[in-house]
Symmetry: C2
Subunit: 205 residues, 2 copies
């Protein structure tokens, strides 16, 4: 199949293409796209070749067309049901995060393991006991889980999500976790983001 | 100088190299590293060439050496003083996030604009009025700011951070913001992370 890191690069291609389209540009070569993304043209062509035949030799890519096809391939024109696990401070902030809904990600249920938290309401959702995840999330058609529990609980929570049939997890806890090959885990890692900036702060700059 | 997107790829190279080193591997070719990162060997060599002469033609890269040099280039062996702006739910979660300290990122002060929040304590830090940022953050030697305010306040907050001399901002608010070319902004974008997973959930898979 397609290497995972190639799929991970696609949303960035999409953002670049969407910006180009907004500025009224209709066609782009892999050289120009490569310059924009600072990726070699060969890399771009290789990445895109996994998904279909795009562009015309010597003519470049028709942006609108490529954009529409990639969005469809990535499943971005669909709605996705999302569950949040761990409704502490971060979990509550995630439930109210306004960026999900416009992009088709609907948070439909919330879970916690603390008896003092279960039964409370957060952003219009009643918090369920995480032990009922399989039944409740199944009934809600949940496809994606967001994990906002402490690091020590992350692996156990993910094991239970996997057992319930979840195939995509966005993990905020600072822990690398394990899951079967057919389950995707993305870690929200602010440290990596900070480390991409310290270069500019370092001595010689 | 070095293109920004190249600098952004370095932390990923570092993680791969660190894993290889942990498994006892001492030398790696750009082909092998490329396979690992799913980036063309030409891309790897081009990226690294911006930072120095690494590796020996026909012999590959000595991992320990490359790792140490890249860490130094990225400023990862230093301590960095960090301020958090916006001490609501997310801000409090960020102050207690255990991943920063071990990597040399020390949160040294906290700011908010709500009179009801200013003067409270969060994670051992007293919350200052954001209007005093320049003075307080200056005294604390703050180099990096983390923004956890609502989207509508993000641009104004960043303008004030820039005015106070901050050159690196980690922004959690769902808003693309503007800043001068010598100020780095990284957005923590969970939507892009989710969009890199929906591919696997989509119909045909
Ligand atoms: N990646 C990031 O940018 C980022 C930023 C801040 C915090 N975090 C991380 O997010 C997580 C949550 O932080 P917080 O400040 O909201 O913590 P918190 O203590 O306020 O909330 C954690 C919640 O998880 C619940 N929980 C614990 N174990 C559970 C389990 N097994 N099943 C279900 N629920 C469980 C708790 O009852 C609690 O309500 C932590 O791991 C923290 O390090 C990540
Ligand atoms: N990127 C992510 O993964 C992610 C996840 C959750 C929330 N968020 C975002 O983080 C931000 C905070 O979310 P929250 O739930 O903690 O909100 P919140 O309302 O609980 O807290 C926001 C805080 O910011 C303060 N504030 C507002 N304007 C300010 C200003 N001009 N200067 C200083 N402080 C100011 C408020 O007084 C409040 O204390 C929001 O933008 C939210 O969308 C991002």
């Amino acid at each position: 199949g397609v290497p995972e890191v190639v799929v991970e690069r696609l949303p960035q291609y999409l953002r670049a293409l969407a910006h180009l389209k907004e500025s009224g540009i209709e066609v782009i070569s892999s050289q120009q796209l490569g310059d924009l993304l600072q990726v070699t043209p060969a890399q771009i062509r290789k990445d895109l070749s996994y998904f279909g035949r795009f562009g015309k030799q010597g003519r470049g890519y028709a942006i609108s067309n490529l954009l529409a096809q990639l969005r469809s391939i990535l499943g971005l024109d669909q709605t996705w049901n999302v569950a949040v696990v761990g409704i502490g401070r971060l979990g509550r902030a995630i439930i109210s995060y306004p960026g999900f809904e416009p992009e088709g990600f609907r948070i439909v249920c919330a879970f916690d393991s603390d008896k003092a938290v279960v039964g409370q309401w957060a952003g219009g959702l009643m918090i369920h006991d995480f032990s009922t995840f399989k039944k409740v999330a199944g009934a809600e058609g949940v496809q994606i889980a967001v994990v906002a529990v402490p690091a020590a609980a992350a692996q156990d929570v993910i094991d239970q999500l996997v057992d319930a049939g979840i195939k995509a997890v966005l993990n905020y806890a600072p822990k690398s976790t394990l899951a079967p090959a057919d389950v995707r885990i993305r870690n929200v890692d602010p440290v990596v983001a900070l480390q991409s900036m310290t270069y500019y702060l370092s001595a010689a700059r």
